[in-house]
Symmetry: D4
Subunit: 255 residues, 8 copies
């Protein structure tokens, strides 16, 4: 058998087996940004079957650009234990903790994967799966982001799950599609407010949680849902929110 | 198991099994236009394993637009037996045979498939696989056309085969990529000449054939390769070229 | 007379004769997707004059992309008789019937055409023709889709008909233009709901029918009109909806 | 019969009759700019069957923008008789004759049409028809410009003629496609030179004429073919060139 | 003085003199389509100072594309006198009068200009000038359409006039900008209704007239303003509307 | 040390020092158009720390295009003292003062900078910083405009300030983002009204002022906020508004 | 006369008078970047009639972006006298002189204008005017850059001059159009080389000069013409080149 | 000091300090794909100062898309030690080693950073710095990729280094710019050949090395430089090439 045939068969077969498993998992996390990857790690560590869908062919969300392309981001003291869990180095300056953007991205992903989470790139969640009585979310409809970018009209596939986390950032993409397509849920997504870094950091963690049965929100999507202020290149809230949602879901699924 | 999980698993599994087979076939035909689909039918009928890759999510090549959007095309008398093989209705007018464009498209595809050929949509051939001593073509590198349209950078997969047919029309896409990337083959693609319908119909069939071991050309790609005149909305040459290449390949592979 | 003049005259004349007939038909179906082509076949079989306008130069709607580009689609048991009417092969797996996407596309078109329906490619319906007392639809305004894509400003032509079917899928294009331009009809198009495959399959067939005198809806446009859930790459509902609308219209026109 | 059906049938039938005639004419002029419309008028006046194909839905070429959007153009004394033939008003200033751009456009078209020429809008000539021994041009391949702008792949129709005039301006579109597709003609299109108004006016008329049997050039396309200087918003050369080519062709066709 | 300097000085000076006059006229007509050019001719004939601003570098509005690119349009019997005023040839067929699209465009423009109207190409009206007590329109703000297409940010110039006619067709551009920017006028532009050719032809003429002091509407903009049905490639209403608005304005300005 | 290293270190270090200062200033002016630069000069002259953020890599706002690309603008008599402050030459004509557009742009910038204001190019203000009790604006979130044009997702940096002036012209960009993101402020931006030059000049100066604590408006953004008429290429209002806002802010900050 | 009419007449008349003068000048400088504006000032100071055409609606060329958006640029010691001529402040650091980018842009323009040069924005030079025996450049063809960006086809106007300076930077636009359109000049534009700041600064000044009679080159266009290395955000060479070309031209024109 | 000011100052200062160091390093690696990150780790481990510039805001090059979006890639046995160095898990199948694409991306980056390499995102190398006698490369010119995507014209900054590695993949971007701008180097980049996986894997490692003093090539850029066959989603060659170039450079720099 020529090497080219072997490559194709090996990749298609190994991937298809994994897709058959992915079709039914415990938690779908949408978005491989800071909140999503933090959540993925802590959830996987608890033994749950976790898949993260990321529309780009990379991870990190808004981390890579640092602050206005200056390649550092900052966090506060409360976040230091998470940095240490992920083995991210930091430097203290003006009461803040400075972190290299590239390092944070790499370590969040590496540790989420080592904990057992799957990160699937190039896949966009373009809808949720619902059930009634009570109205709840039981999974997602997915599509190659290449298909969406190309403008071709192709049907999605489905992933059934016990929990879905919107960790897509400012646009709160999952909540938005749900609020538009299921008007009876009366969910409104006002978007984030103008900047107020201190307040934002605090509130985004406080409001992280369950939106309705099966549907959860973490990271900047929390700000979009509750019209909270925006926070800029300080990432404490993102990491703490990711950790908190992991705890809430673990609790709910154990129930 | 919820219906959504069942749908995903069924489709992924059934497709993956087929992809494992496709990774190694007798004939790869590139382009589901008139020449490609005609060739596919006659090759499959002879028991060869045939796959047609078509970058669009449909078939028909240039047939669908008829002549300047007028929805009929014409053929000449010599092509009538092929029309009858495919059960396409025709009407005689001014010594020409008028055919409905939509019917021709549908029937070419339906009969190629019934004969056993596989038509895979949304897949673009973006390179060939080569071997040396002698220089020959032993398959193709393929990519989702959605990926190419999206501008994302993704590696291809490979399909190994005994024969590859360029039936991509005016652009002779397979020959072009080969001539650019394998300069030692000294293949030049001058493109088609200005219009001369009568001459074009005759020459395109005459020149249909093998380009080098493993690489064949049919349909308008023949005109592009040999700088033959263009023919417009008369499709006799296309269908006859498709039938002829099928015979040549069947002969070569039997050898 | 040179062959080139003969080609032009033959095509223009043959097409113009057909356009003169098309200007006044029994049923206009908008969209050559699964529901539209199924309806076309069963309506034509009953002896009605049927024309399908499809904006692309091909047919199949969303079939060609399978499920997320995996080239298979599924149906359920109730749809098997339709598959057999169209001579589409199927394979049973996990209680579902797997069908090759390319084969389904080709056979739907081939059998609709054999039954006597005309499929005209490259034509977009950009408005309806109306009458009052009672408010009703009596045909469509059409335009080359090339003209619309080019942004040129060109007047449409008209096709008068006894029934118009919106089979344009998710966008419900005909209903949408009608609801926007004829506000007194008080038609609202909420769009489809999030996914729930089982429910969707059932409801879309149930709700298939007449919207107001002369205007009918089939396929995914039904989901858009009644805010029904979406169903993904399972096509039972599409085919059953196409068949049902054919029966309803035949009944109405006989009256 | 409803008015809508009547409109469609009347327009399609009247147009199709004309297209059947257009399929075989004496002279095809490509481009409805100043040179093309001047030529059309003088040729039609001599009783020849003339069709002008213009890719836009209007006429005038570069006239409408005047000079850098200032809505006047100028000509010199030698051109006054042509202005008077077309009943265009002028005003003498600094030894030049000033003309309103809009008036010139309208009158060129109105008088060409009154003389019997047909101007067909929205049609692009995308190739020529050739014959050998000797190599000659016997017509053109045409396409809706909407189709070309839309990027759709559709076959052209053909118009057979005794003479083809490239009056497409700076781009010399017909000569360019011919030179690229028929390399054995060894025709090179160097493009126009930098500006030298006086010289340009004189040379463009001098060089107006036959390129090879059946193929003629007039207007700015002459400058493109012979690398003559460009002339800006002085249109004497354009009008004189149009008149001259009419005389040359009339002579050739009488032979 | 070199010829190039002479050309520039002659054109700039002649144009600037005309612009100084255009800065204050009797009637501004926006759009050089069928209604606008008809109105321009009849108004200029009555001795009024008329300027037509057309954003394209040509005239004709939707005429050039005929019906779906078929190059004929139709009118009814009532319009024959206008055709004869403009010396447009016609042919009777199925109770309709068929006219060549190119001829109609050219003759409308030629006769409007001969009557004394100015047509200025490449200029877009992007606002009106207003006064209060009572709220009225006293002119327009204009911009090069090239500037608008280029996305550059440039201030407009002003043209003061006694009457402004919106003859911009389906989009009713002048009315739309006025209704958006002067909310206290409570003008709503619902847009045209679906097609009903007979009714549309009648109503569009009936409703042609003054909208508020200084602001008038003619042609398809009437349909947009009063939600009247659309009419397709039958142009009787357009020409009659243009003639009627000329009579109304002449009357008003005489007062 | 090679010259290339020296260049990079010198520029990065000099700029970083300045950015550290810019992070906390007295006044942020958004937009380097006529109102913004006038304000910047008079504010800086009073000893306040002023930074102007301009998204383009140049200054002048709408001045550079003059009136419809004619390269002059006009002002009235009241503005002459400001022209003289900035040493801009003028010429009296028809009771108006004509100024060269290029000169006005250059001198506004040169004198603002000489007075001590900083103009930072290529930076877009994409949000404000807020505080509550009372609701107030205390700075801005900024981003490279290159980042926004590129579509990349990057976090902003922050600039804290005692006053923020929206001098962004017609779009009132700062007010718009604030009104959208802080709905409890109940700020509505109706946009400017149609043209009425005389009234506009007067009202825009009259309404220039504070919007809420910390947030000010000057120039055409005033017209957008209060639905005032537009004024075209007369710039008296812009310059007077810039001067007035400087006086108001100086007063407020002194308090 | 209403104010709006007065504004239009004043601007059009004042501008047209200036255009009549511009149609024939001593020196045309193409590009209002650092080299062009420096040259303009020193040439105008010597009493020559100078016009600078700049395609954007601003000035500064590459200055505004500083070095990689860091808003400072550097020069060396030899350039200090030019900074002082233009009253640009500087700060010494690591043997280099740091200058604020915004200040340099503003002051270059302000002082060039004060010296008597005209800077016309929004105008692109798209060709030169030539004469023969000997081959020489005697002016330029100009076009609104808005027209070029819009893709409209409009004729240029002409400006006759004794000298033309290409100061368009990296692209050497004037030299490029000349080399393409006047092949007999055998001018080749290889483009700039990779970076070598020290060498580049020296060579660009050395090679600044006359290209052929009437055609001169300054600034980065010198590097493009002679394949010199690139220099990055150090602007000494640009300013010195601008000053040198002014001296050369003054000398040549005096002769 | 408000938190927002603190964030900005901390990030700007920390980053500027690092940029001052980056301005002069031992090795610049261009491209954070598999070869670049592998090289970065092994070089940094040897104590060299290494910076990787990556134009995207992420890392991984072509890894993220797996093979045609199937999210696995394969390597062969020789690569297992590198996988183990980076702690990447693998599974043996058909004699190949299957690796999860996401895991490989994350671990390559994490370990390169832990070894001491800096990865800077959003920065594009758009030129090299050269010296003569002998011709050599001594660093790179860099630009924000956002600036390049936005089309703005901004000068670059410089990074001086002892070695530059082109690890940009198929396009060999650094080699290409160098070969175009320094023609005397006579470097030709023919691009990669058609696919031949086995041969490609072997040759790409063999040819990895120094191109001229200071300039090195690794990964797919090697194939582009030497016209080697392409290899598809098998990454053994990439990782081995990255490791080999690290050894070669370490050797050269020690010399």
């Amino acid at each position: 058998m020529p090497l080219e045939t072997k490559i194709t068969r090996t990749i298609v077969t190994a991937t298809a087996e994994e897709w058959a498993e992915i079709a039914n998992v415990d938690v779908v996390i949408v978005g491989a940004g800071p909140a999503g990857m933090t959540a993925a790690r802590y959830l996987a560590e608890k033994g749950l079957r976790v898949v993260v869908f990321e529309r780009r062919l990379s991870f990190g969300g808004g981390i890579g650009g640092g602050g206005m392309l200056f390649h550092k981001i900052v966090v506060d003291e409360k976040t230091v234990p998470i940095l240490e869990d992920f083995r991210v180095r930091y430097q203290k300056r003006n009461d803040l903790y400075v972190v290299d953007a590239a390092e944070l991205m790499a370590k969040l992903a590496a540790h989420a994967i080592d904990a057992g989470a799957r990160i699937i790139h190039g896949v966009q969640v373009d809808d949720v799966i619902i059930r009634y009585d009570p109205l709840r979310v039981v999974g997602v409809a997915i599509q190659w982001s290449a298909v969406i970018m190309s403008g071709l009209h192709v049907d999605p596939l489905f992933v059934y799950s016990r929990a879905v986390v919107d960790a897509t950032g400012h646009d709160a993409e999952v909540l938005s599609v749900f609020s538009r397509k299921v008007p009876e849920a009366e969910l409104i997504i006002p978007g984030e407010k103008s900047a107020y870094a201190e307040e934002a950091e605090k509130l985004v963690v406080e409001k992280t949680g369950r939106v309705l049965p099966g549907l959860y929100v973490a990271g900047m999507a929390v700000a979009a849902l509750y019209n909270l202020p925006r926070m800029g290149p300080i990432f404490a809230g993102m990491l703490l929110s990711g950790k908190k949602i992991a705890e809430i879901i673990a609790e709910d699924l154990r129930a």
